[in-house]
């Protein structure tokens, strides 16, 4: 069987599984719809959180980012995992003890204010839609690459599948499909990683192989070799860094508190039976995530070696088959600047503009010709960073079924995250806006119907974003994290640990934090993109790292404003006493 048939087979089987789970886990009450009845085993919740959290980007792009930036790529590894410590220590147990359904629920009750609840709902919807647009697009892209269907058809297929289990099963359906999706994606990610590790070091465990000697008899370790070849080709050393320390630090901080403030992750801890299960479950979630996140740098290192080894100074005609295959999909492009027929891989962008624009013609070696002008650098090859994971099986000459596996894994990663986000959007609308704010008289059945309708509407909007992606989606992943870091996280943590913060303080804090971070990102990404570099940034902090400053401003504002208004009422103080008790 060829790779494409395997892709159809595995993706089809996984879809059948998800739909089967959807029928098995129909939700009958709002409690089941919002928090899966509150009875999910901590280990299963950990797996579901892992799948919920790991998006198409984690699965496909992070290894590529690390492969091309070496140590500087570590901010994503540290930032996206370190947030779970904050989540487990500062948020999850108390929110579980609080025992309601949504994040705005907590903010509304703790700050005894419908305004605070509504501000939280708006932050949540803004964060979730920014994030979800990228996911639906991701589903479409995966479909188009592996199954050779149109991107838009891929988005629609993804919408239908998510519709089935999210609308029917709510959180209950999502939880059990996410457990299945975690299993699919971890298997799909590990198999090629193990093969790669054996190929370079004979060690089957990628995490250890990454720190071992190469098996080529050179006596060098993997990292020594990486440093050597990257420096030889004019890149910075793989284990070195070119980002400023302060910027690195702020990006890590922003990603960590942003992760801890993401509503679709927080809400997963409402589904376990007990407070202690919330802590344990966060531990399992991070353990399951760590399996993949410690493999990512190994995959990154091996694939960078592979790339250099198999293309640099190789005549185009002798290049491995996958080079031509990915060139035909536009993920690789080659421009023979010095007319020697060989591929030179060097530091710097190969093309101006950097993304390849192909003509229909072929060159003398059969390469696709480009409209792009050559750049100043000697680099002749453009490589899309996503290729690192997708092309691994071919680079390592793995059997075709591994490619099918990766397709199923990437689709699982994108769908699970999209479903988790859809659920928090729908529950914030049906529960926080309708039931708690505008139409308190509706019954449980009516609320459940509203939740389903909201989920269905959100899927349609998300699909629309997937088919007509706003131009900014790719540039502003920073948005979702900056907003979560600057708005929700400080409001929740202060709400738990301070008795003095009142509604005036919390609302002012959320608004200041949000406007500061969003304003900073909008200024540099849309209004003045040509100034988007370290010379103009505030203290040299990039847009990805500004959420941390926004969070600090939020806290300072909340404290200061709270001083000028009355302390929270006694009902809130006893709520606090309640959530702080074991």
């Amino acid at each position: 069987m060829d790779a494409q048939s395997f892709s159809y087979l595995f993706v089809g089987l996984s879809f059948a599984l998800y739909i089967g789970i959807a029928f098995w886990t129909r939700a009958n009450s709002t409690k089941q719809f919002y928090v899966a009845g509150g009875g999910v085993h901590p280990v299963l919740n950990g797996m579901a959180t892992g799948a919920d959290w790991m998006s198409a980007a984690s699965f496909l792009s992070v290894a590529g980012i690390v492969a091309f930036s070496g140590r500087d790529g570590s901010v994503y590894l540290i930032g996206w995992t370190g947030g779970y410590v904050l989540l487990a220590l500062l948020l999850a147990p108390y929110l579980r003890k609080f025992g309601r359904y949504t994040v705005p629920d907590f903010i509304g009750e703790r700050y005894y204010s419908k305004t605070a609840r509504t501000v939280a709902v708006l932050c949540l919807i803004f964060i979730s839609f920014t994030y979800i647009a990228g996911q639906m697009r991701g589903v479409g892209i995966v479909f188009s690459r592996f199954l050779e269907v149109d991107i838009n058809t891929g988005v629609i297929i993804g919408m239908v599948i998510v519709f089935f289990y999210a609308v029917m099963g709510g959180m209950k359906g999502i939880t059990y499909t996410q457990v299945a999706q975690y299993c699919v994606l971890v298997f799909a990610f590990m198999v090629p990683a193990v093969f790669l590790s054996i190929m370079w070091t004979d060690n089957p465990i990628p995490q250890l192989g990454f720190g071992s000697q190469l098996n080529d008899g050179s006596g060098l370790t993997v990292l020594q070799k990486l440093d050597q070849v990257t420096v030889d080709l004019g890149f910075h050393a793989y284990t070195g860094s070119i980002r400023s320390t302060l910027d690195t630090l702020m990006i890590i901080v922003t990603l960590m508190i942003g992760t801890a403030g993401l509503p679709h992750v927080i809400v997963r801890f409402f589904t376990v039976p007990k407070v202690s299960d919330a802590r344990l479950s966060a531990g399992y979630a991070l353990l399951f995530i760590a399996v993949i996140y410690t493999t990512i740098p190994a995959v990154a290192g091996f694939s960078r070696l592979n790339l250099i080894d198999s293309v640099n100074e190789v005549a185009y005609q002798d290049a491995p088959e996958w080079v031509g295959k990915w060139e035909s999909t536009g993920l690789i492009a080659w421009q023979d600047k010095n007319a020697d027929g060989r591929i030179q891989y060097r530091a710097g962008h190969a093309l101006v503009p950097t993304k390849p624009q192909f003509t229909d013609a072929r060159g003398q070696y059969g390469q696709r010709l480009l409209e792009n002008a050559p750049s100043d650098s000697e680099n002749e090859i453009y490589v899309d960073r996503d290729i690192m994971v997708i092309a691994n099986p071919e680079i390592a000459s793995l059997p075709n079924w591994v490619i099918g596996l990766i397709a199923a894994g990437a689709v699982a990663a994108a769908l699970s995250t999209a479903a988790g986000l859809l659920l928090v959007i729908s529950s914030s609308i049906s529960h926080d806006l309708l039931k708690s704010t505008f139409m308190p008289s509706i019954t449980d059945e009516q609320e459940l119907l509203a939740a389903r309708l909201a989920a269905a509407t959100a899927i349609v909007i998300a699909g629309w974003f997937g088919i007509n992606p706003p131009a900014f989606v790719a540039q502003v992943v920073a948005f979702a994290f900056g907003m979560a870091a600057a708005s929700l996280f400080p409001a929740i943590v202060l709400g738990i640990f301070s008795e003095r913060i009142n509604k005036e303080g919390a609302i002012a804090g959320m608004i200041v934090g949000l406007f500061f971070s969003v304003g900073y990102i909008v200024y540099f990404v849309f209004i003045n993109p040509h100034q988007n570099n370290a010379d103009f940034w505030f203290w040299g902090i990039s847009t990805a790292g500004i959420g941390g400053i926004g969070a600090a401003l939020n806290m300072v504002t909340a404290y200061t404003v709270s001083r000028f208004f009355d302390a929270p009422p006694t009902a809130v103080i006893s709520l606090l006493k309640h959530i702080r008790r074991p």
């Binding site: 410590v85 760590a290 074991p582």
Partner: protein, 102 residues
């Protein structure tokens, strides 16, 4: 009447104690978190890179593996410490209750 106020007082004392101990645990684990997330991989990475762990420079190892492994450990340690704290306080609580009854 007298008994119920004293047991209520006791309950409050246990809750306060629990919250105080919890904050102590949080503070020490968050310090550890700060060290493995910020100090080792970012602030003192060059210093740590002088030492090696297997084929890794120690600073680089913290960047790409170590921090993550420590994070997992921190959460499980937190879970363990809180379980122990809860067990200890509930033992004290039952001891107090039986005293009050007798």
């Amino acid at each position: 009447m007298h008994e119920s106020t004293s047991s209520k007082k006791n309950k409050q004392a246990i809750a306060d104690r629990y919250w105080y101990e919890n904050k102590k645990i949080l503070l020490s684990l968050l310090s550890l978190w700060f060290i493995v997330a910020i100090v080792c991989p970012v602030l003192s990475v060059d210093y740590l890179d002088q030492f090696s762990l297997g084929g890794f420079g120690l600073g680089f190892w913290f960047n790409q593996q170590g921090a993550i492994l420590f994070f997992v450990a921190i959460i499980f340690i937190y879970h363990g410490l809180m379980q122990r704290l809860e067990a200890r306080l509930s033992v004290e609580k039952t001891a107090d209750d039986s005293q009050a009854e007798s």
